[in-house]
Symmetry: C2
Subunit: 179 residues, 2 copies
């Protein structure tokens, strides 16, 4: 899992993503779909704004984990949304990152590869801390791995609530108090 | 000069560059200049191809130096062009990177800030090695710093030829033999 990402490699992945986005704009322009091309640009800008807000949250470990997640060959596609903007957060970045990393690993082993598996993370800043909402939709084939992970001491030390847990959906809420 | 670039920071700079490019496309679309928008996309793709070829040259130190150069607040804008594609090069990456890094530092001290200063690097693969052509155009105000640098032992150990050296231009050719 752990990999030493150097600047050349990070930019190689990022360039690949951006060229795909550009291709989407170009494809629409070639078909004279000007409005669709503009809409694609707006969507890309919003996505970049979430990346930017994530990068400003003062949690470099967690931000790194999320930013590179889709380049690590997981069986699920990650997207995330940061509902507010802030630069002054201080929660336990390391604890959250370790737990999330383990959760990604568990999810990878528990779901069916090559299916439409999506994990969405919503980050909601509250007065006393940050609420992280993990919402997976896709095909879970090994429930028992997820159950084991949720009962693991690693998960017990988190302020974690299981909101939904079905074959096609898993929703968890993690609360990280400010230090 | 040296800075520890983490993934969050690298992507922050890269995102900023890409959003500027996107803005250029969007600006043209808003003015209904469809052809200009397509031409901008083509230019961006070519630029990205040079970045990609640079990243594949098997010289991670030199590639990193060039990729992040425009994010380091130099008084000149860097662009580069890789004339051929290759993945099997082996030259002294460390030697070239150290020399180039010193050259960037020297140039920064020798030129007038806030002017149209451009450094273009052309990378040309030859049978016995790689030819690096450094072409600066802008305003040099401290010739003596460049003379000193070119006569420095650091430069003497390079296979270096001064092609042009005027107030507004400096052209150097560096040859790196294959190992």
């Amino acid at each position: 899992m752990e990999k030493d990402w150097d600047i050349v490699e990070v930019l190689r992945h990022s360039r690949h993503d951006w060229l795909n986005r550009l291709q989407l704009i170009k494809g629409n322009l070639d078909l004279n779909r000007l409005d669709r091309a503009k809409a694609v640009i707006d969507e890309i800008v919003i996505e970049a704004q979430h990346e930017s807000k994530l990068s400003n949250l003062n949690c470099p470990l967690f931000a790194s984990l999320l930013l590179k997640s889709n380049w690590e060959g997981h069986s699920f596609q990650l997207e995330y949304e940061v509902l507010q903007e802030s630069e002054s957060l201080t929660f336990n970045d390391c604890l959250l990152t370790n737990w999330t990393n383990s959760f990604f690993g568990c999810l990878n082993s528990a779901i069916e590869a090559f299916q439409e598996n999506h994990l969405s993370i919503t980050i909601d800043l509250k007065a006393e801390g940050v609420r992280f909402f993990f919402d997976f939709s896709g095909i879970i084939i090994k429930n028992e791995l997820i159950e084991k992970f949720l009962n693991d001491p690693k998960s017990s030390e988190m302020d974690l609530v299981v909101k939904e847990f079905f074959e096609n959906e898993l929703a968890l809420e993690v609360f990280m108090p400010f230090k």
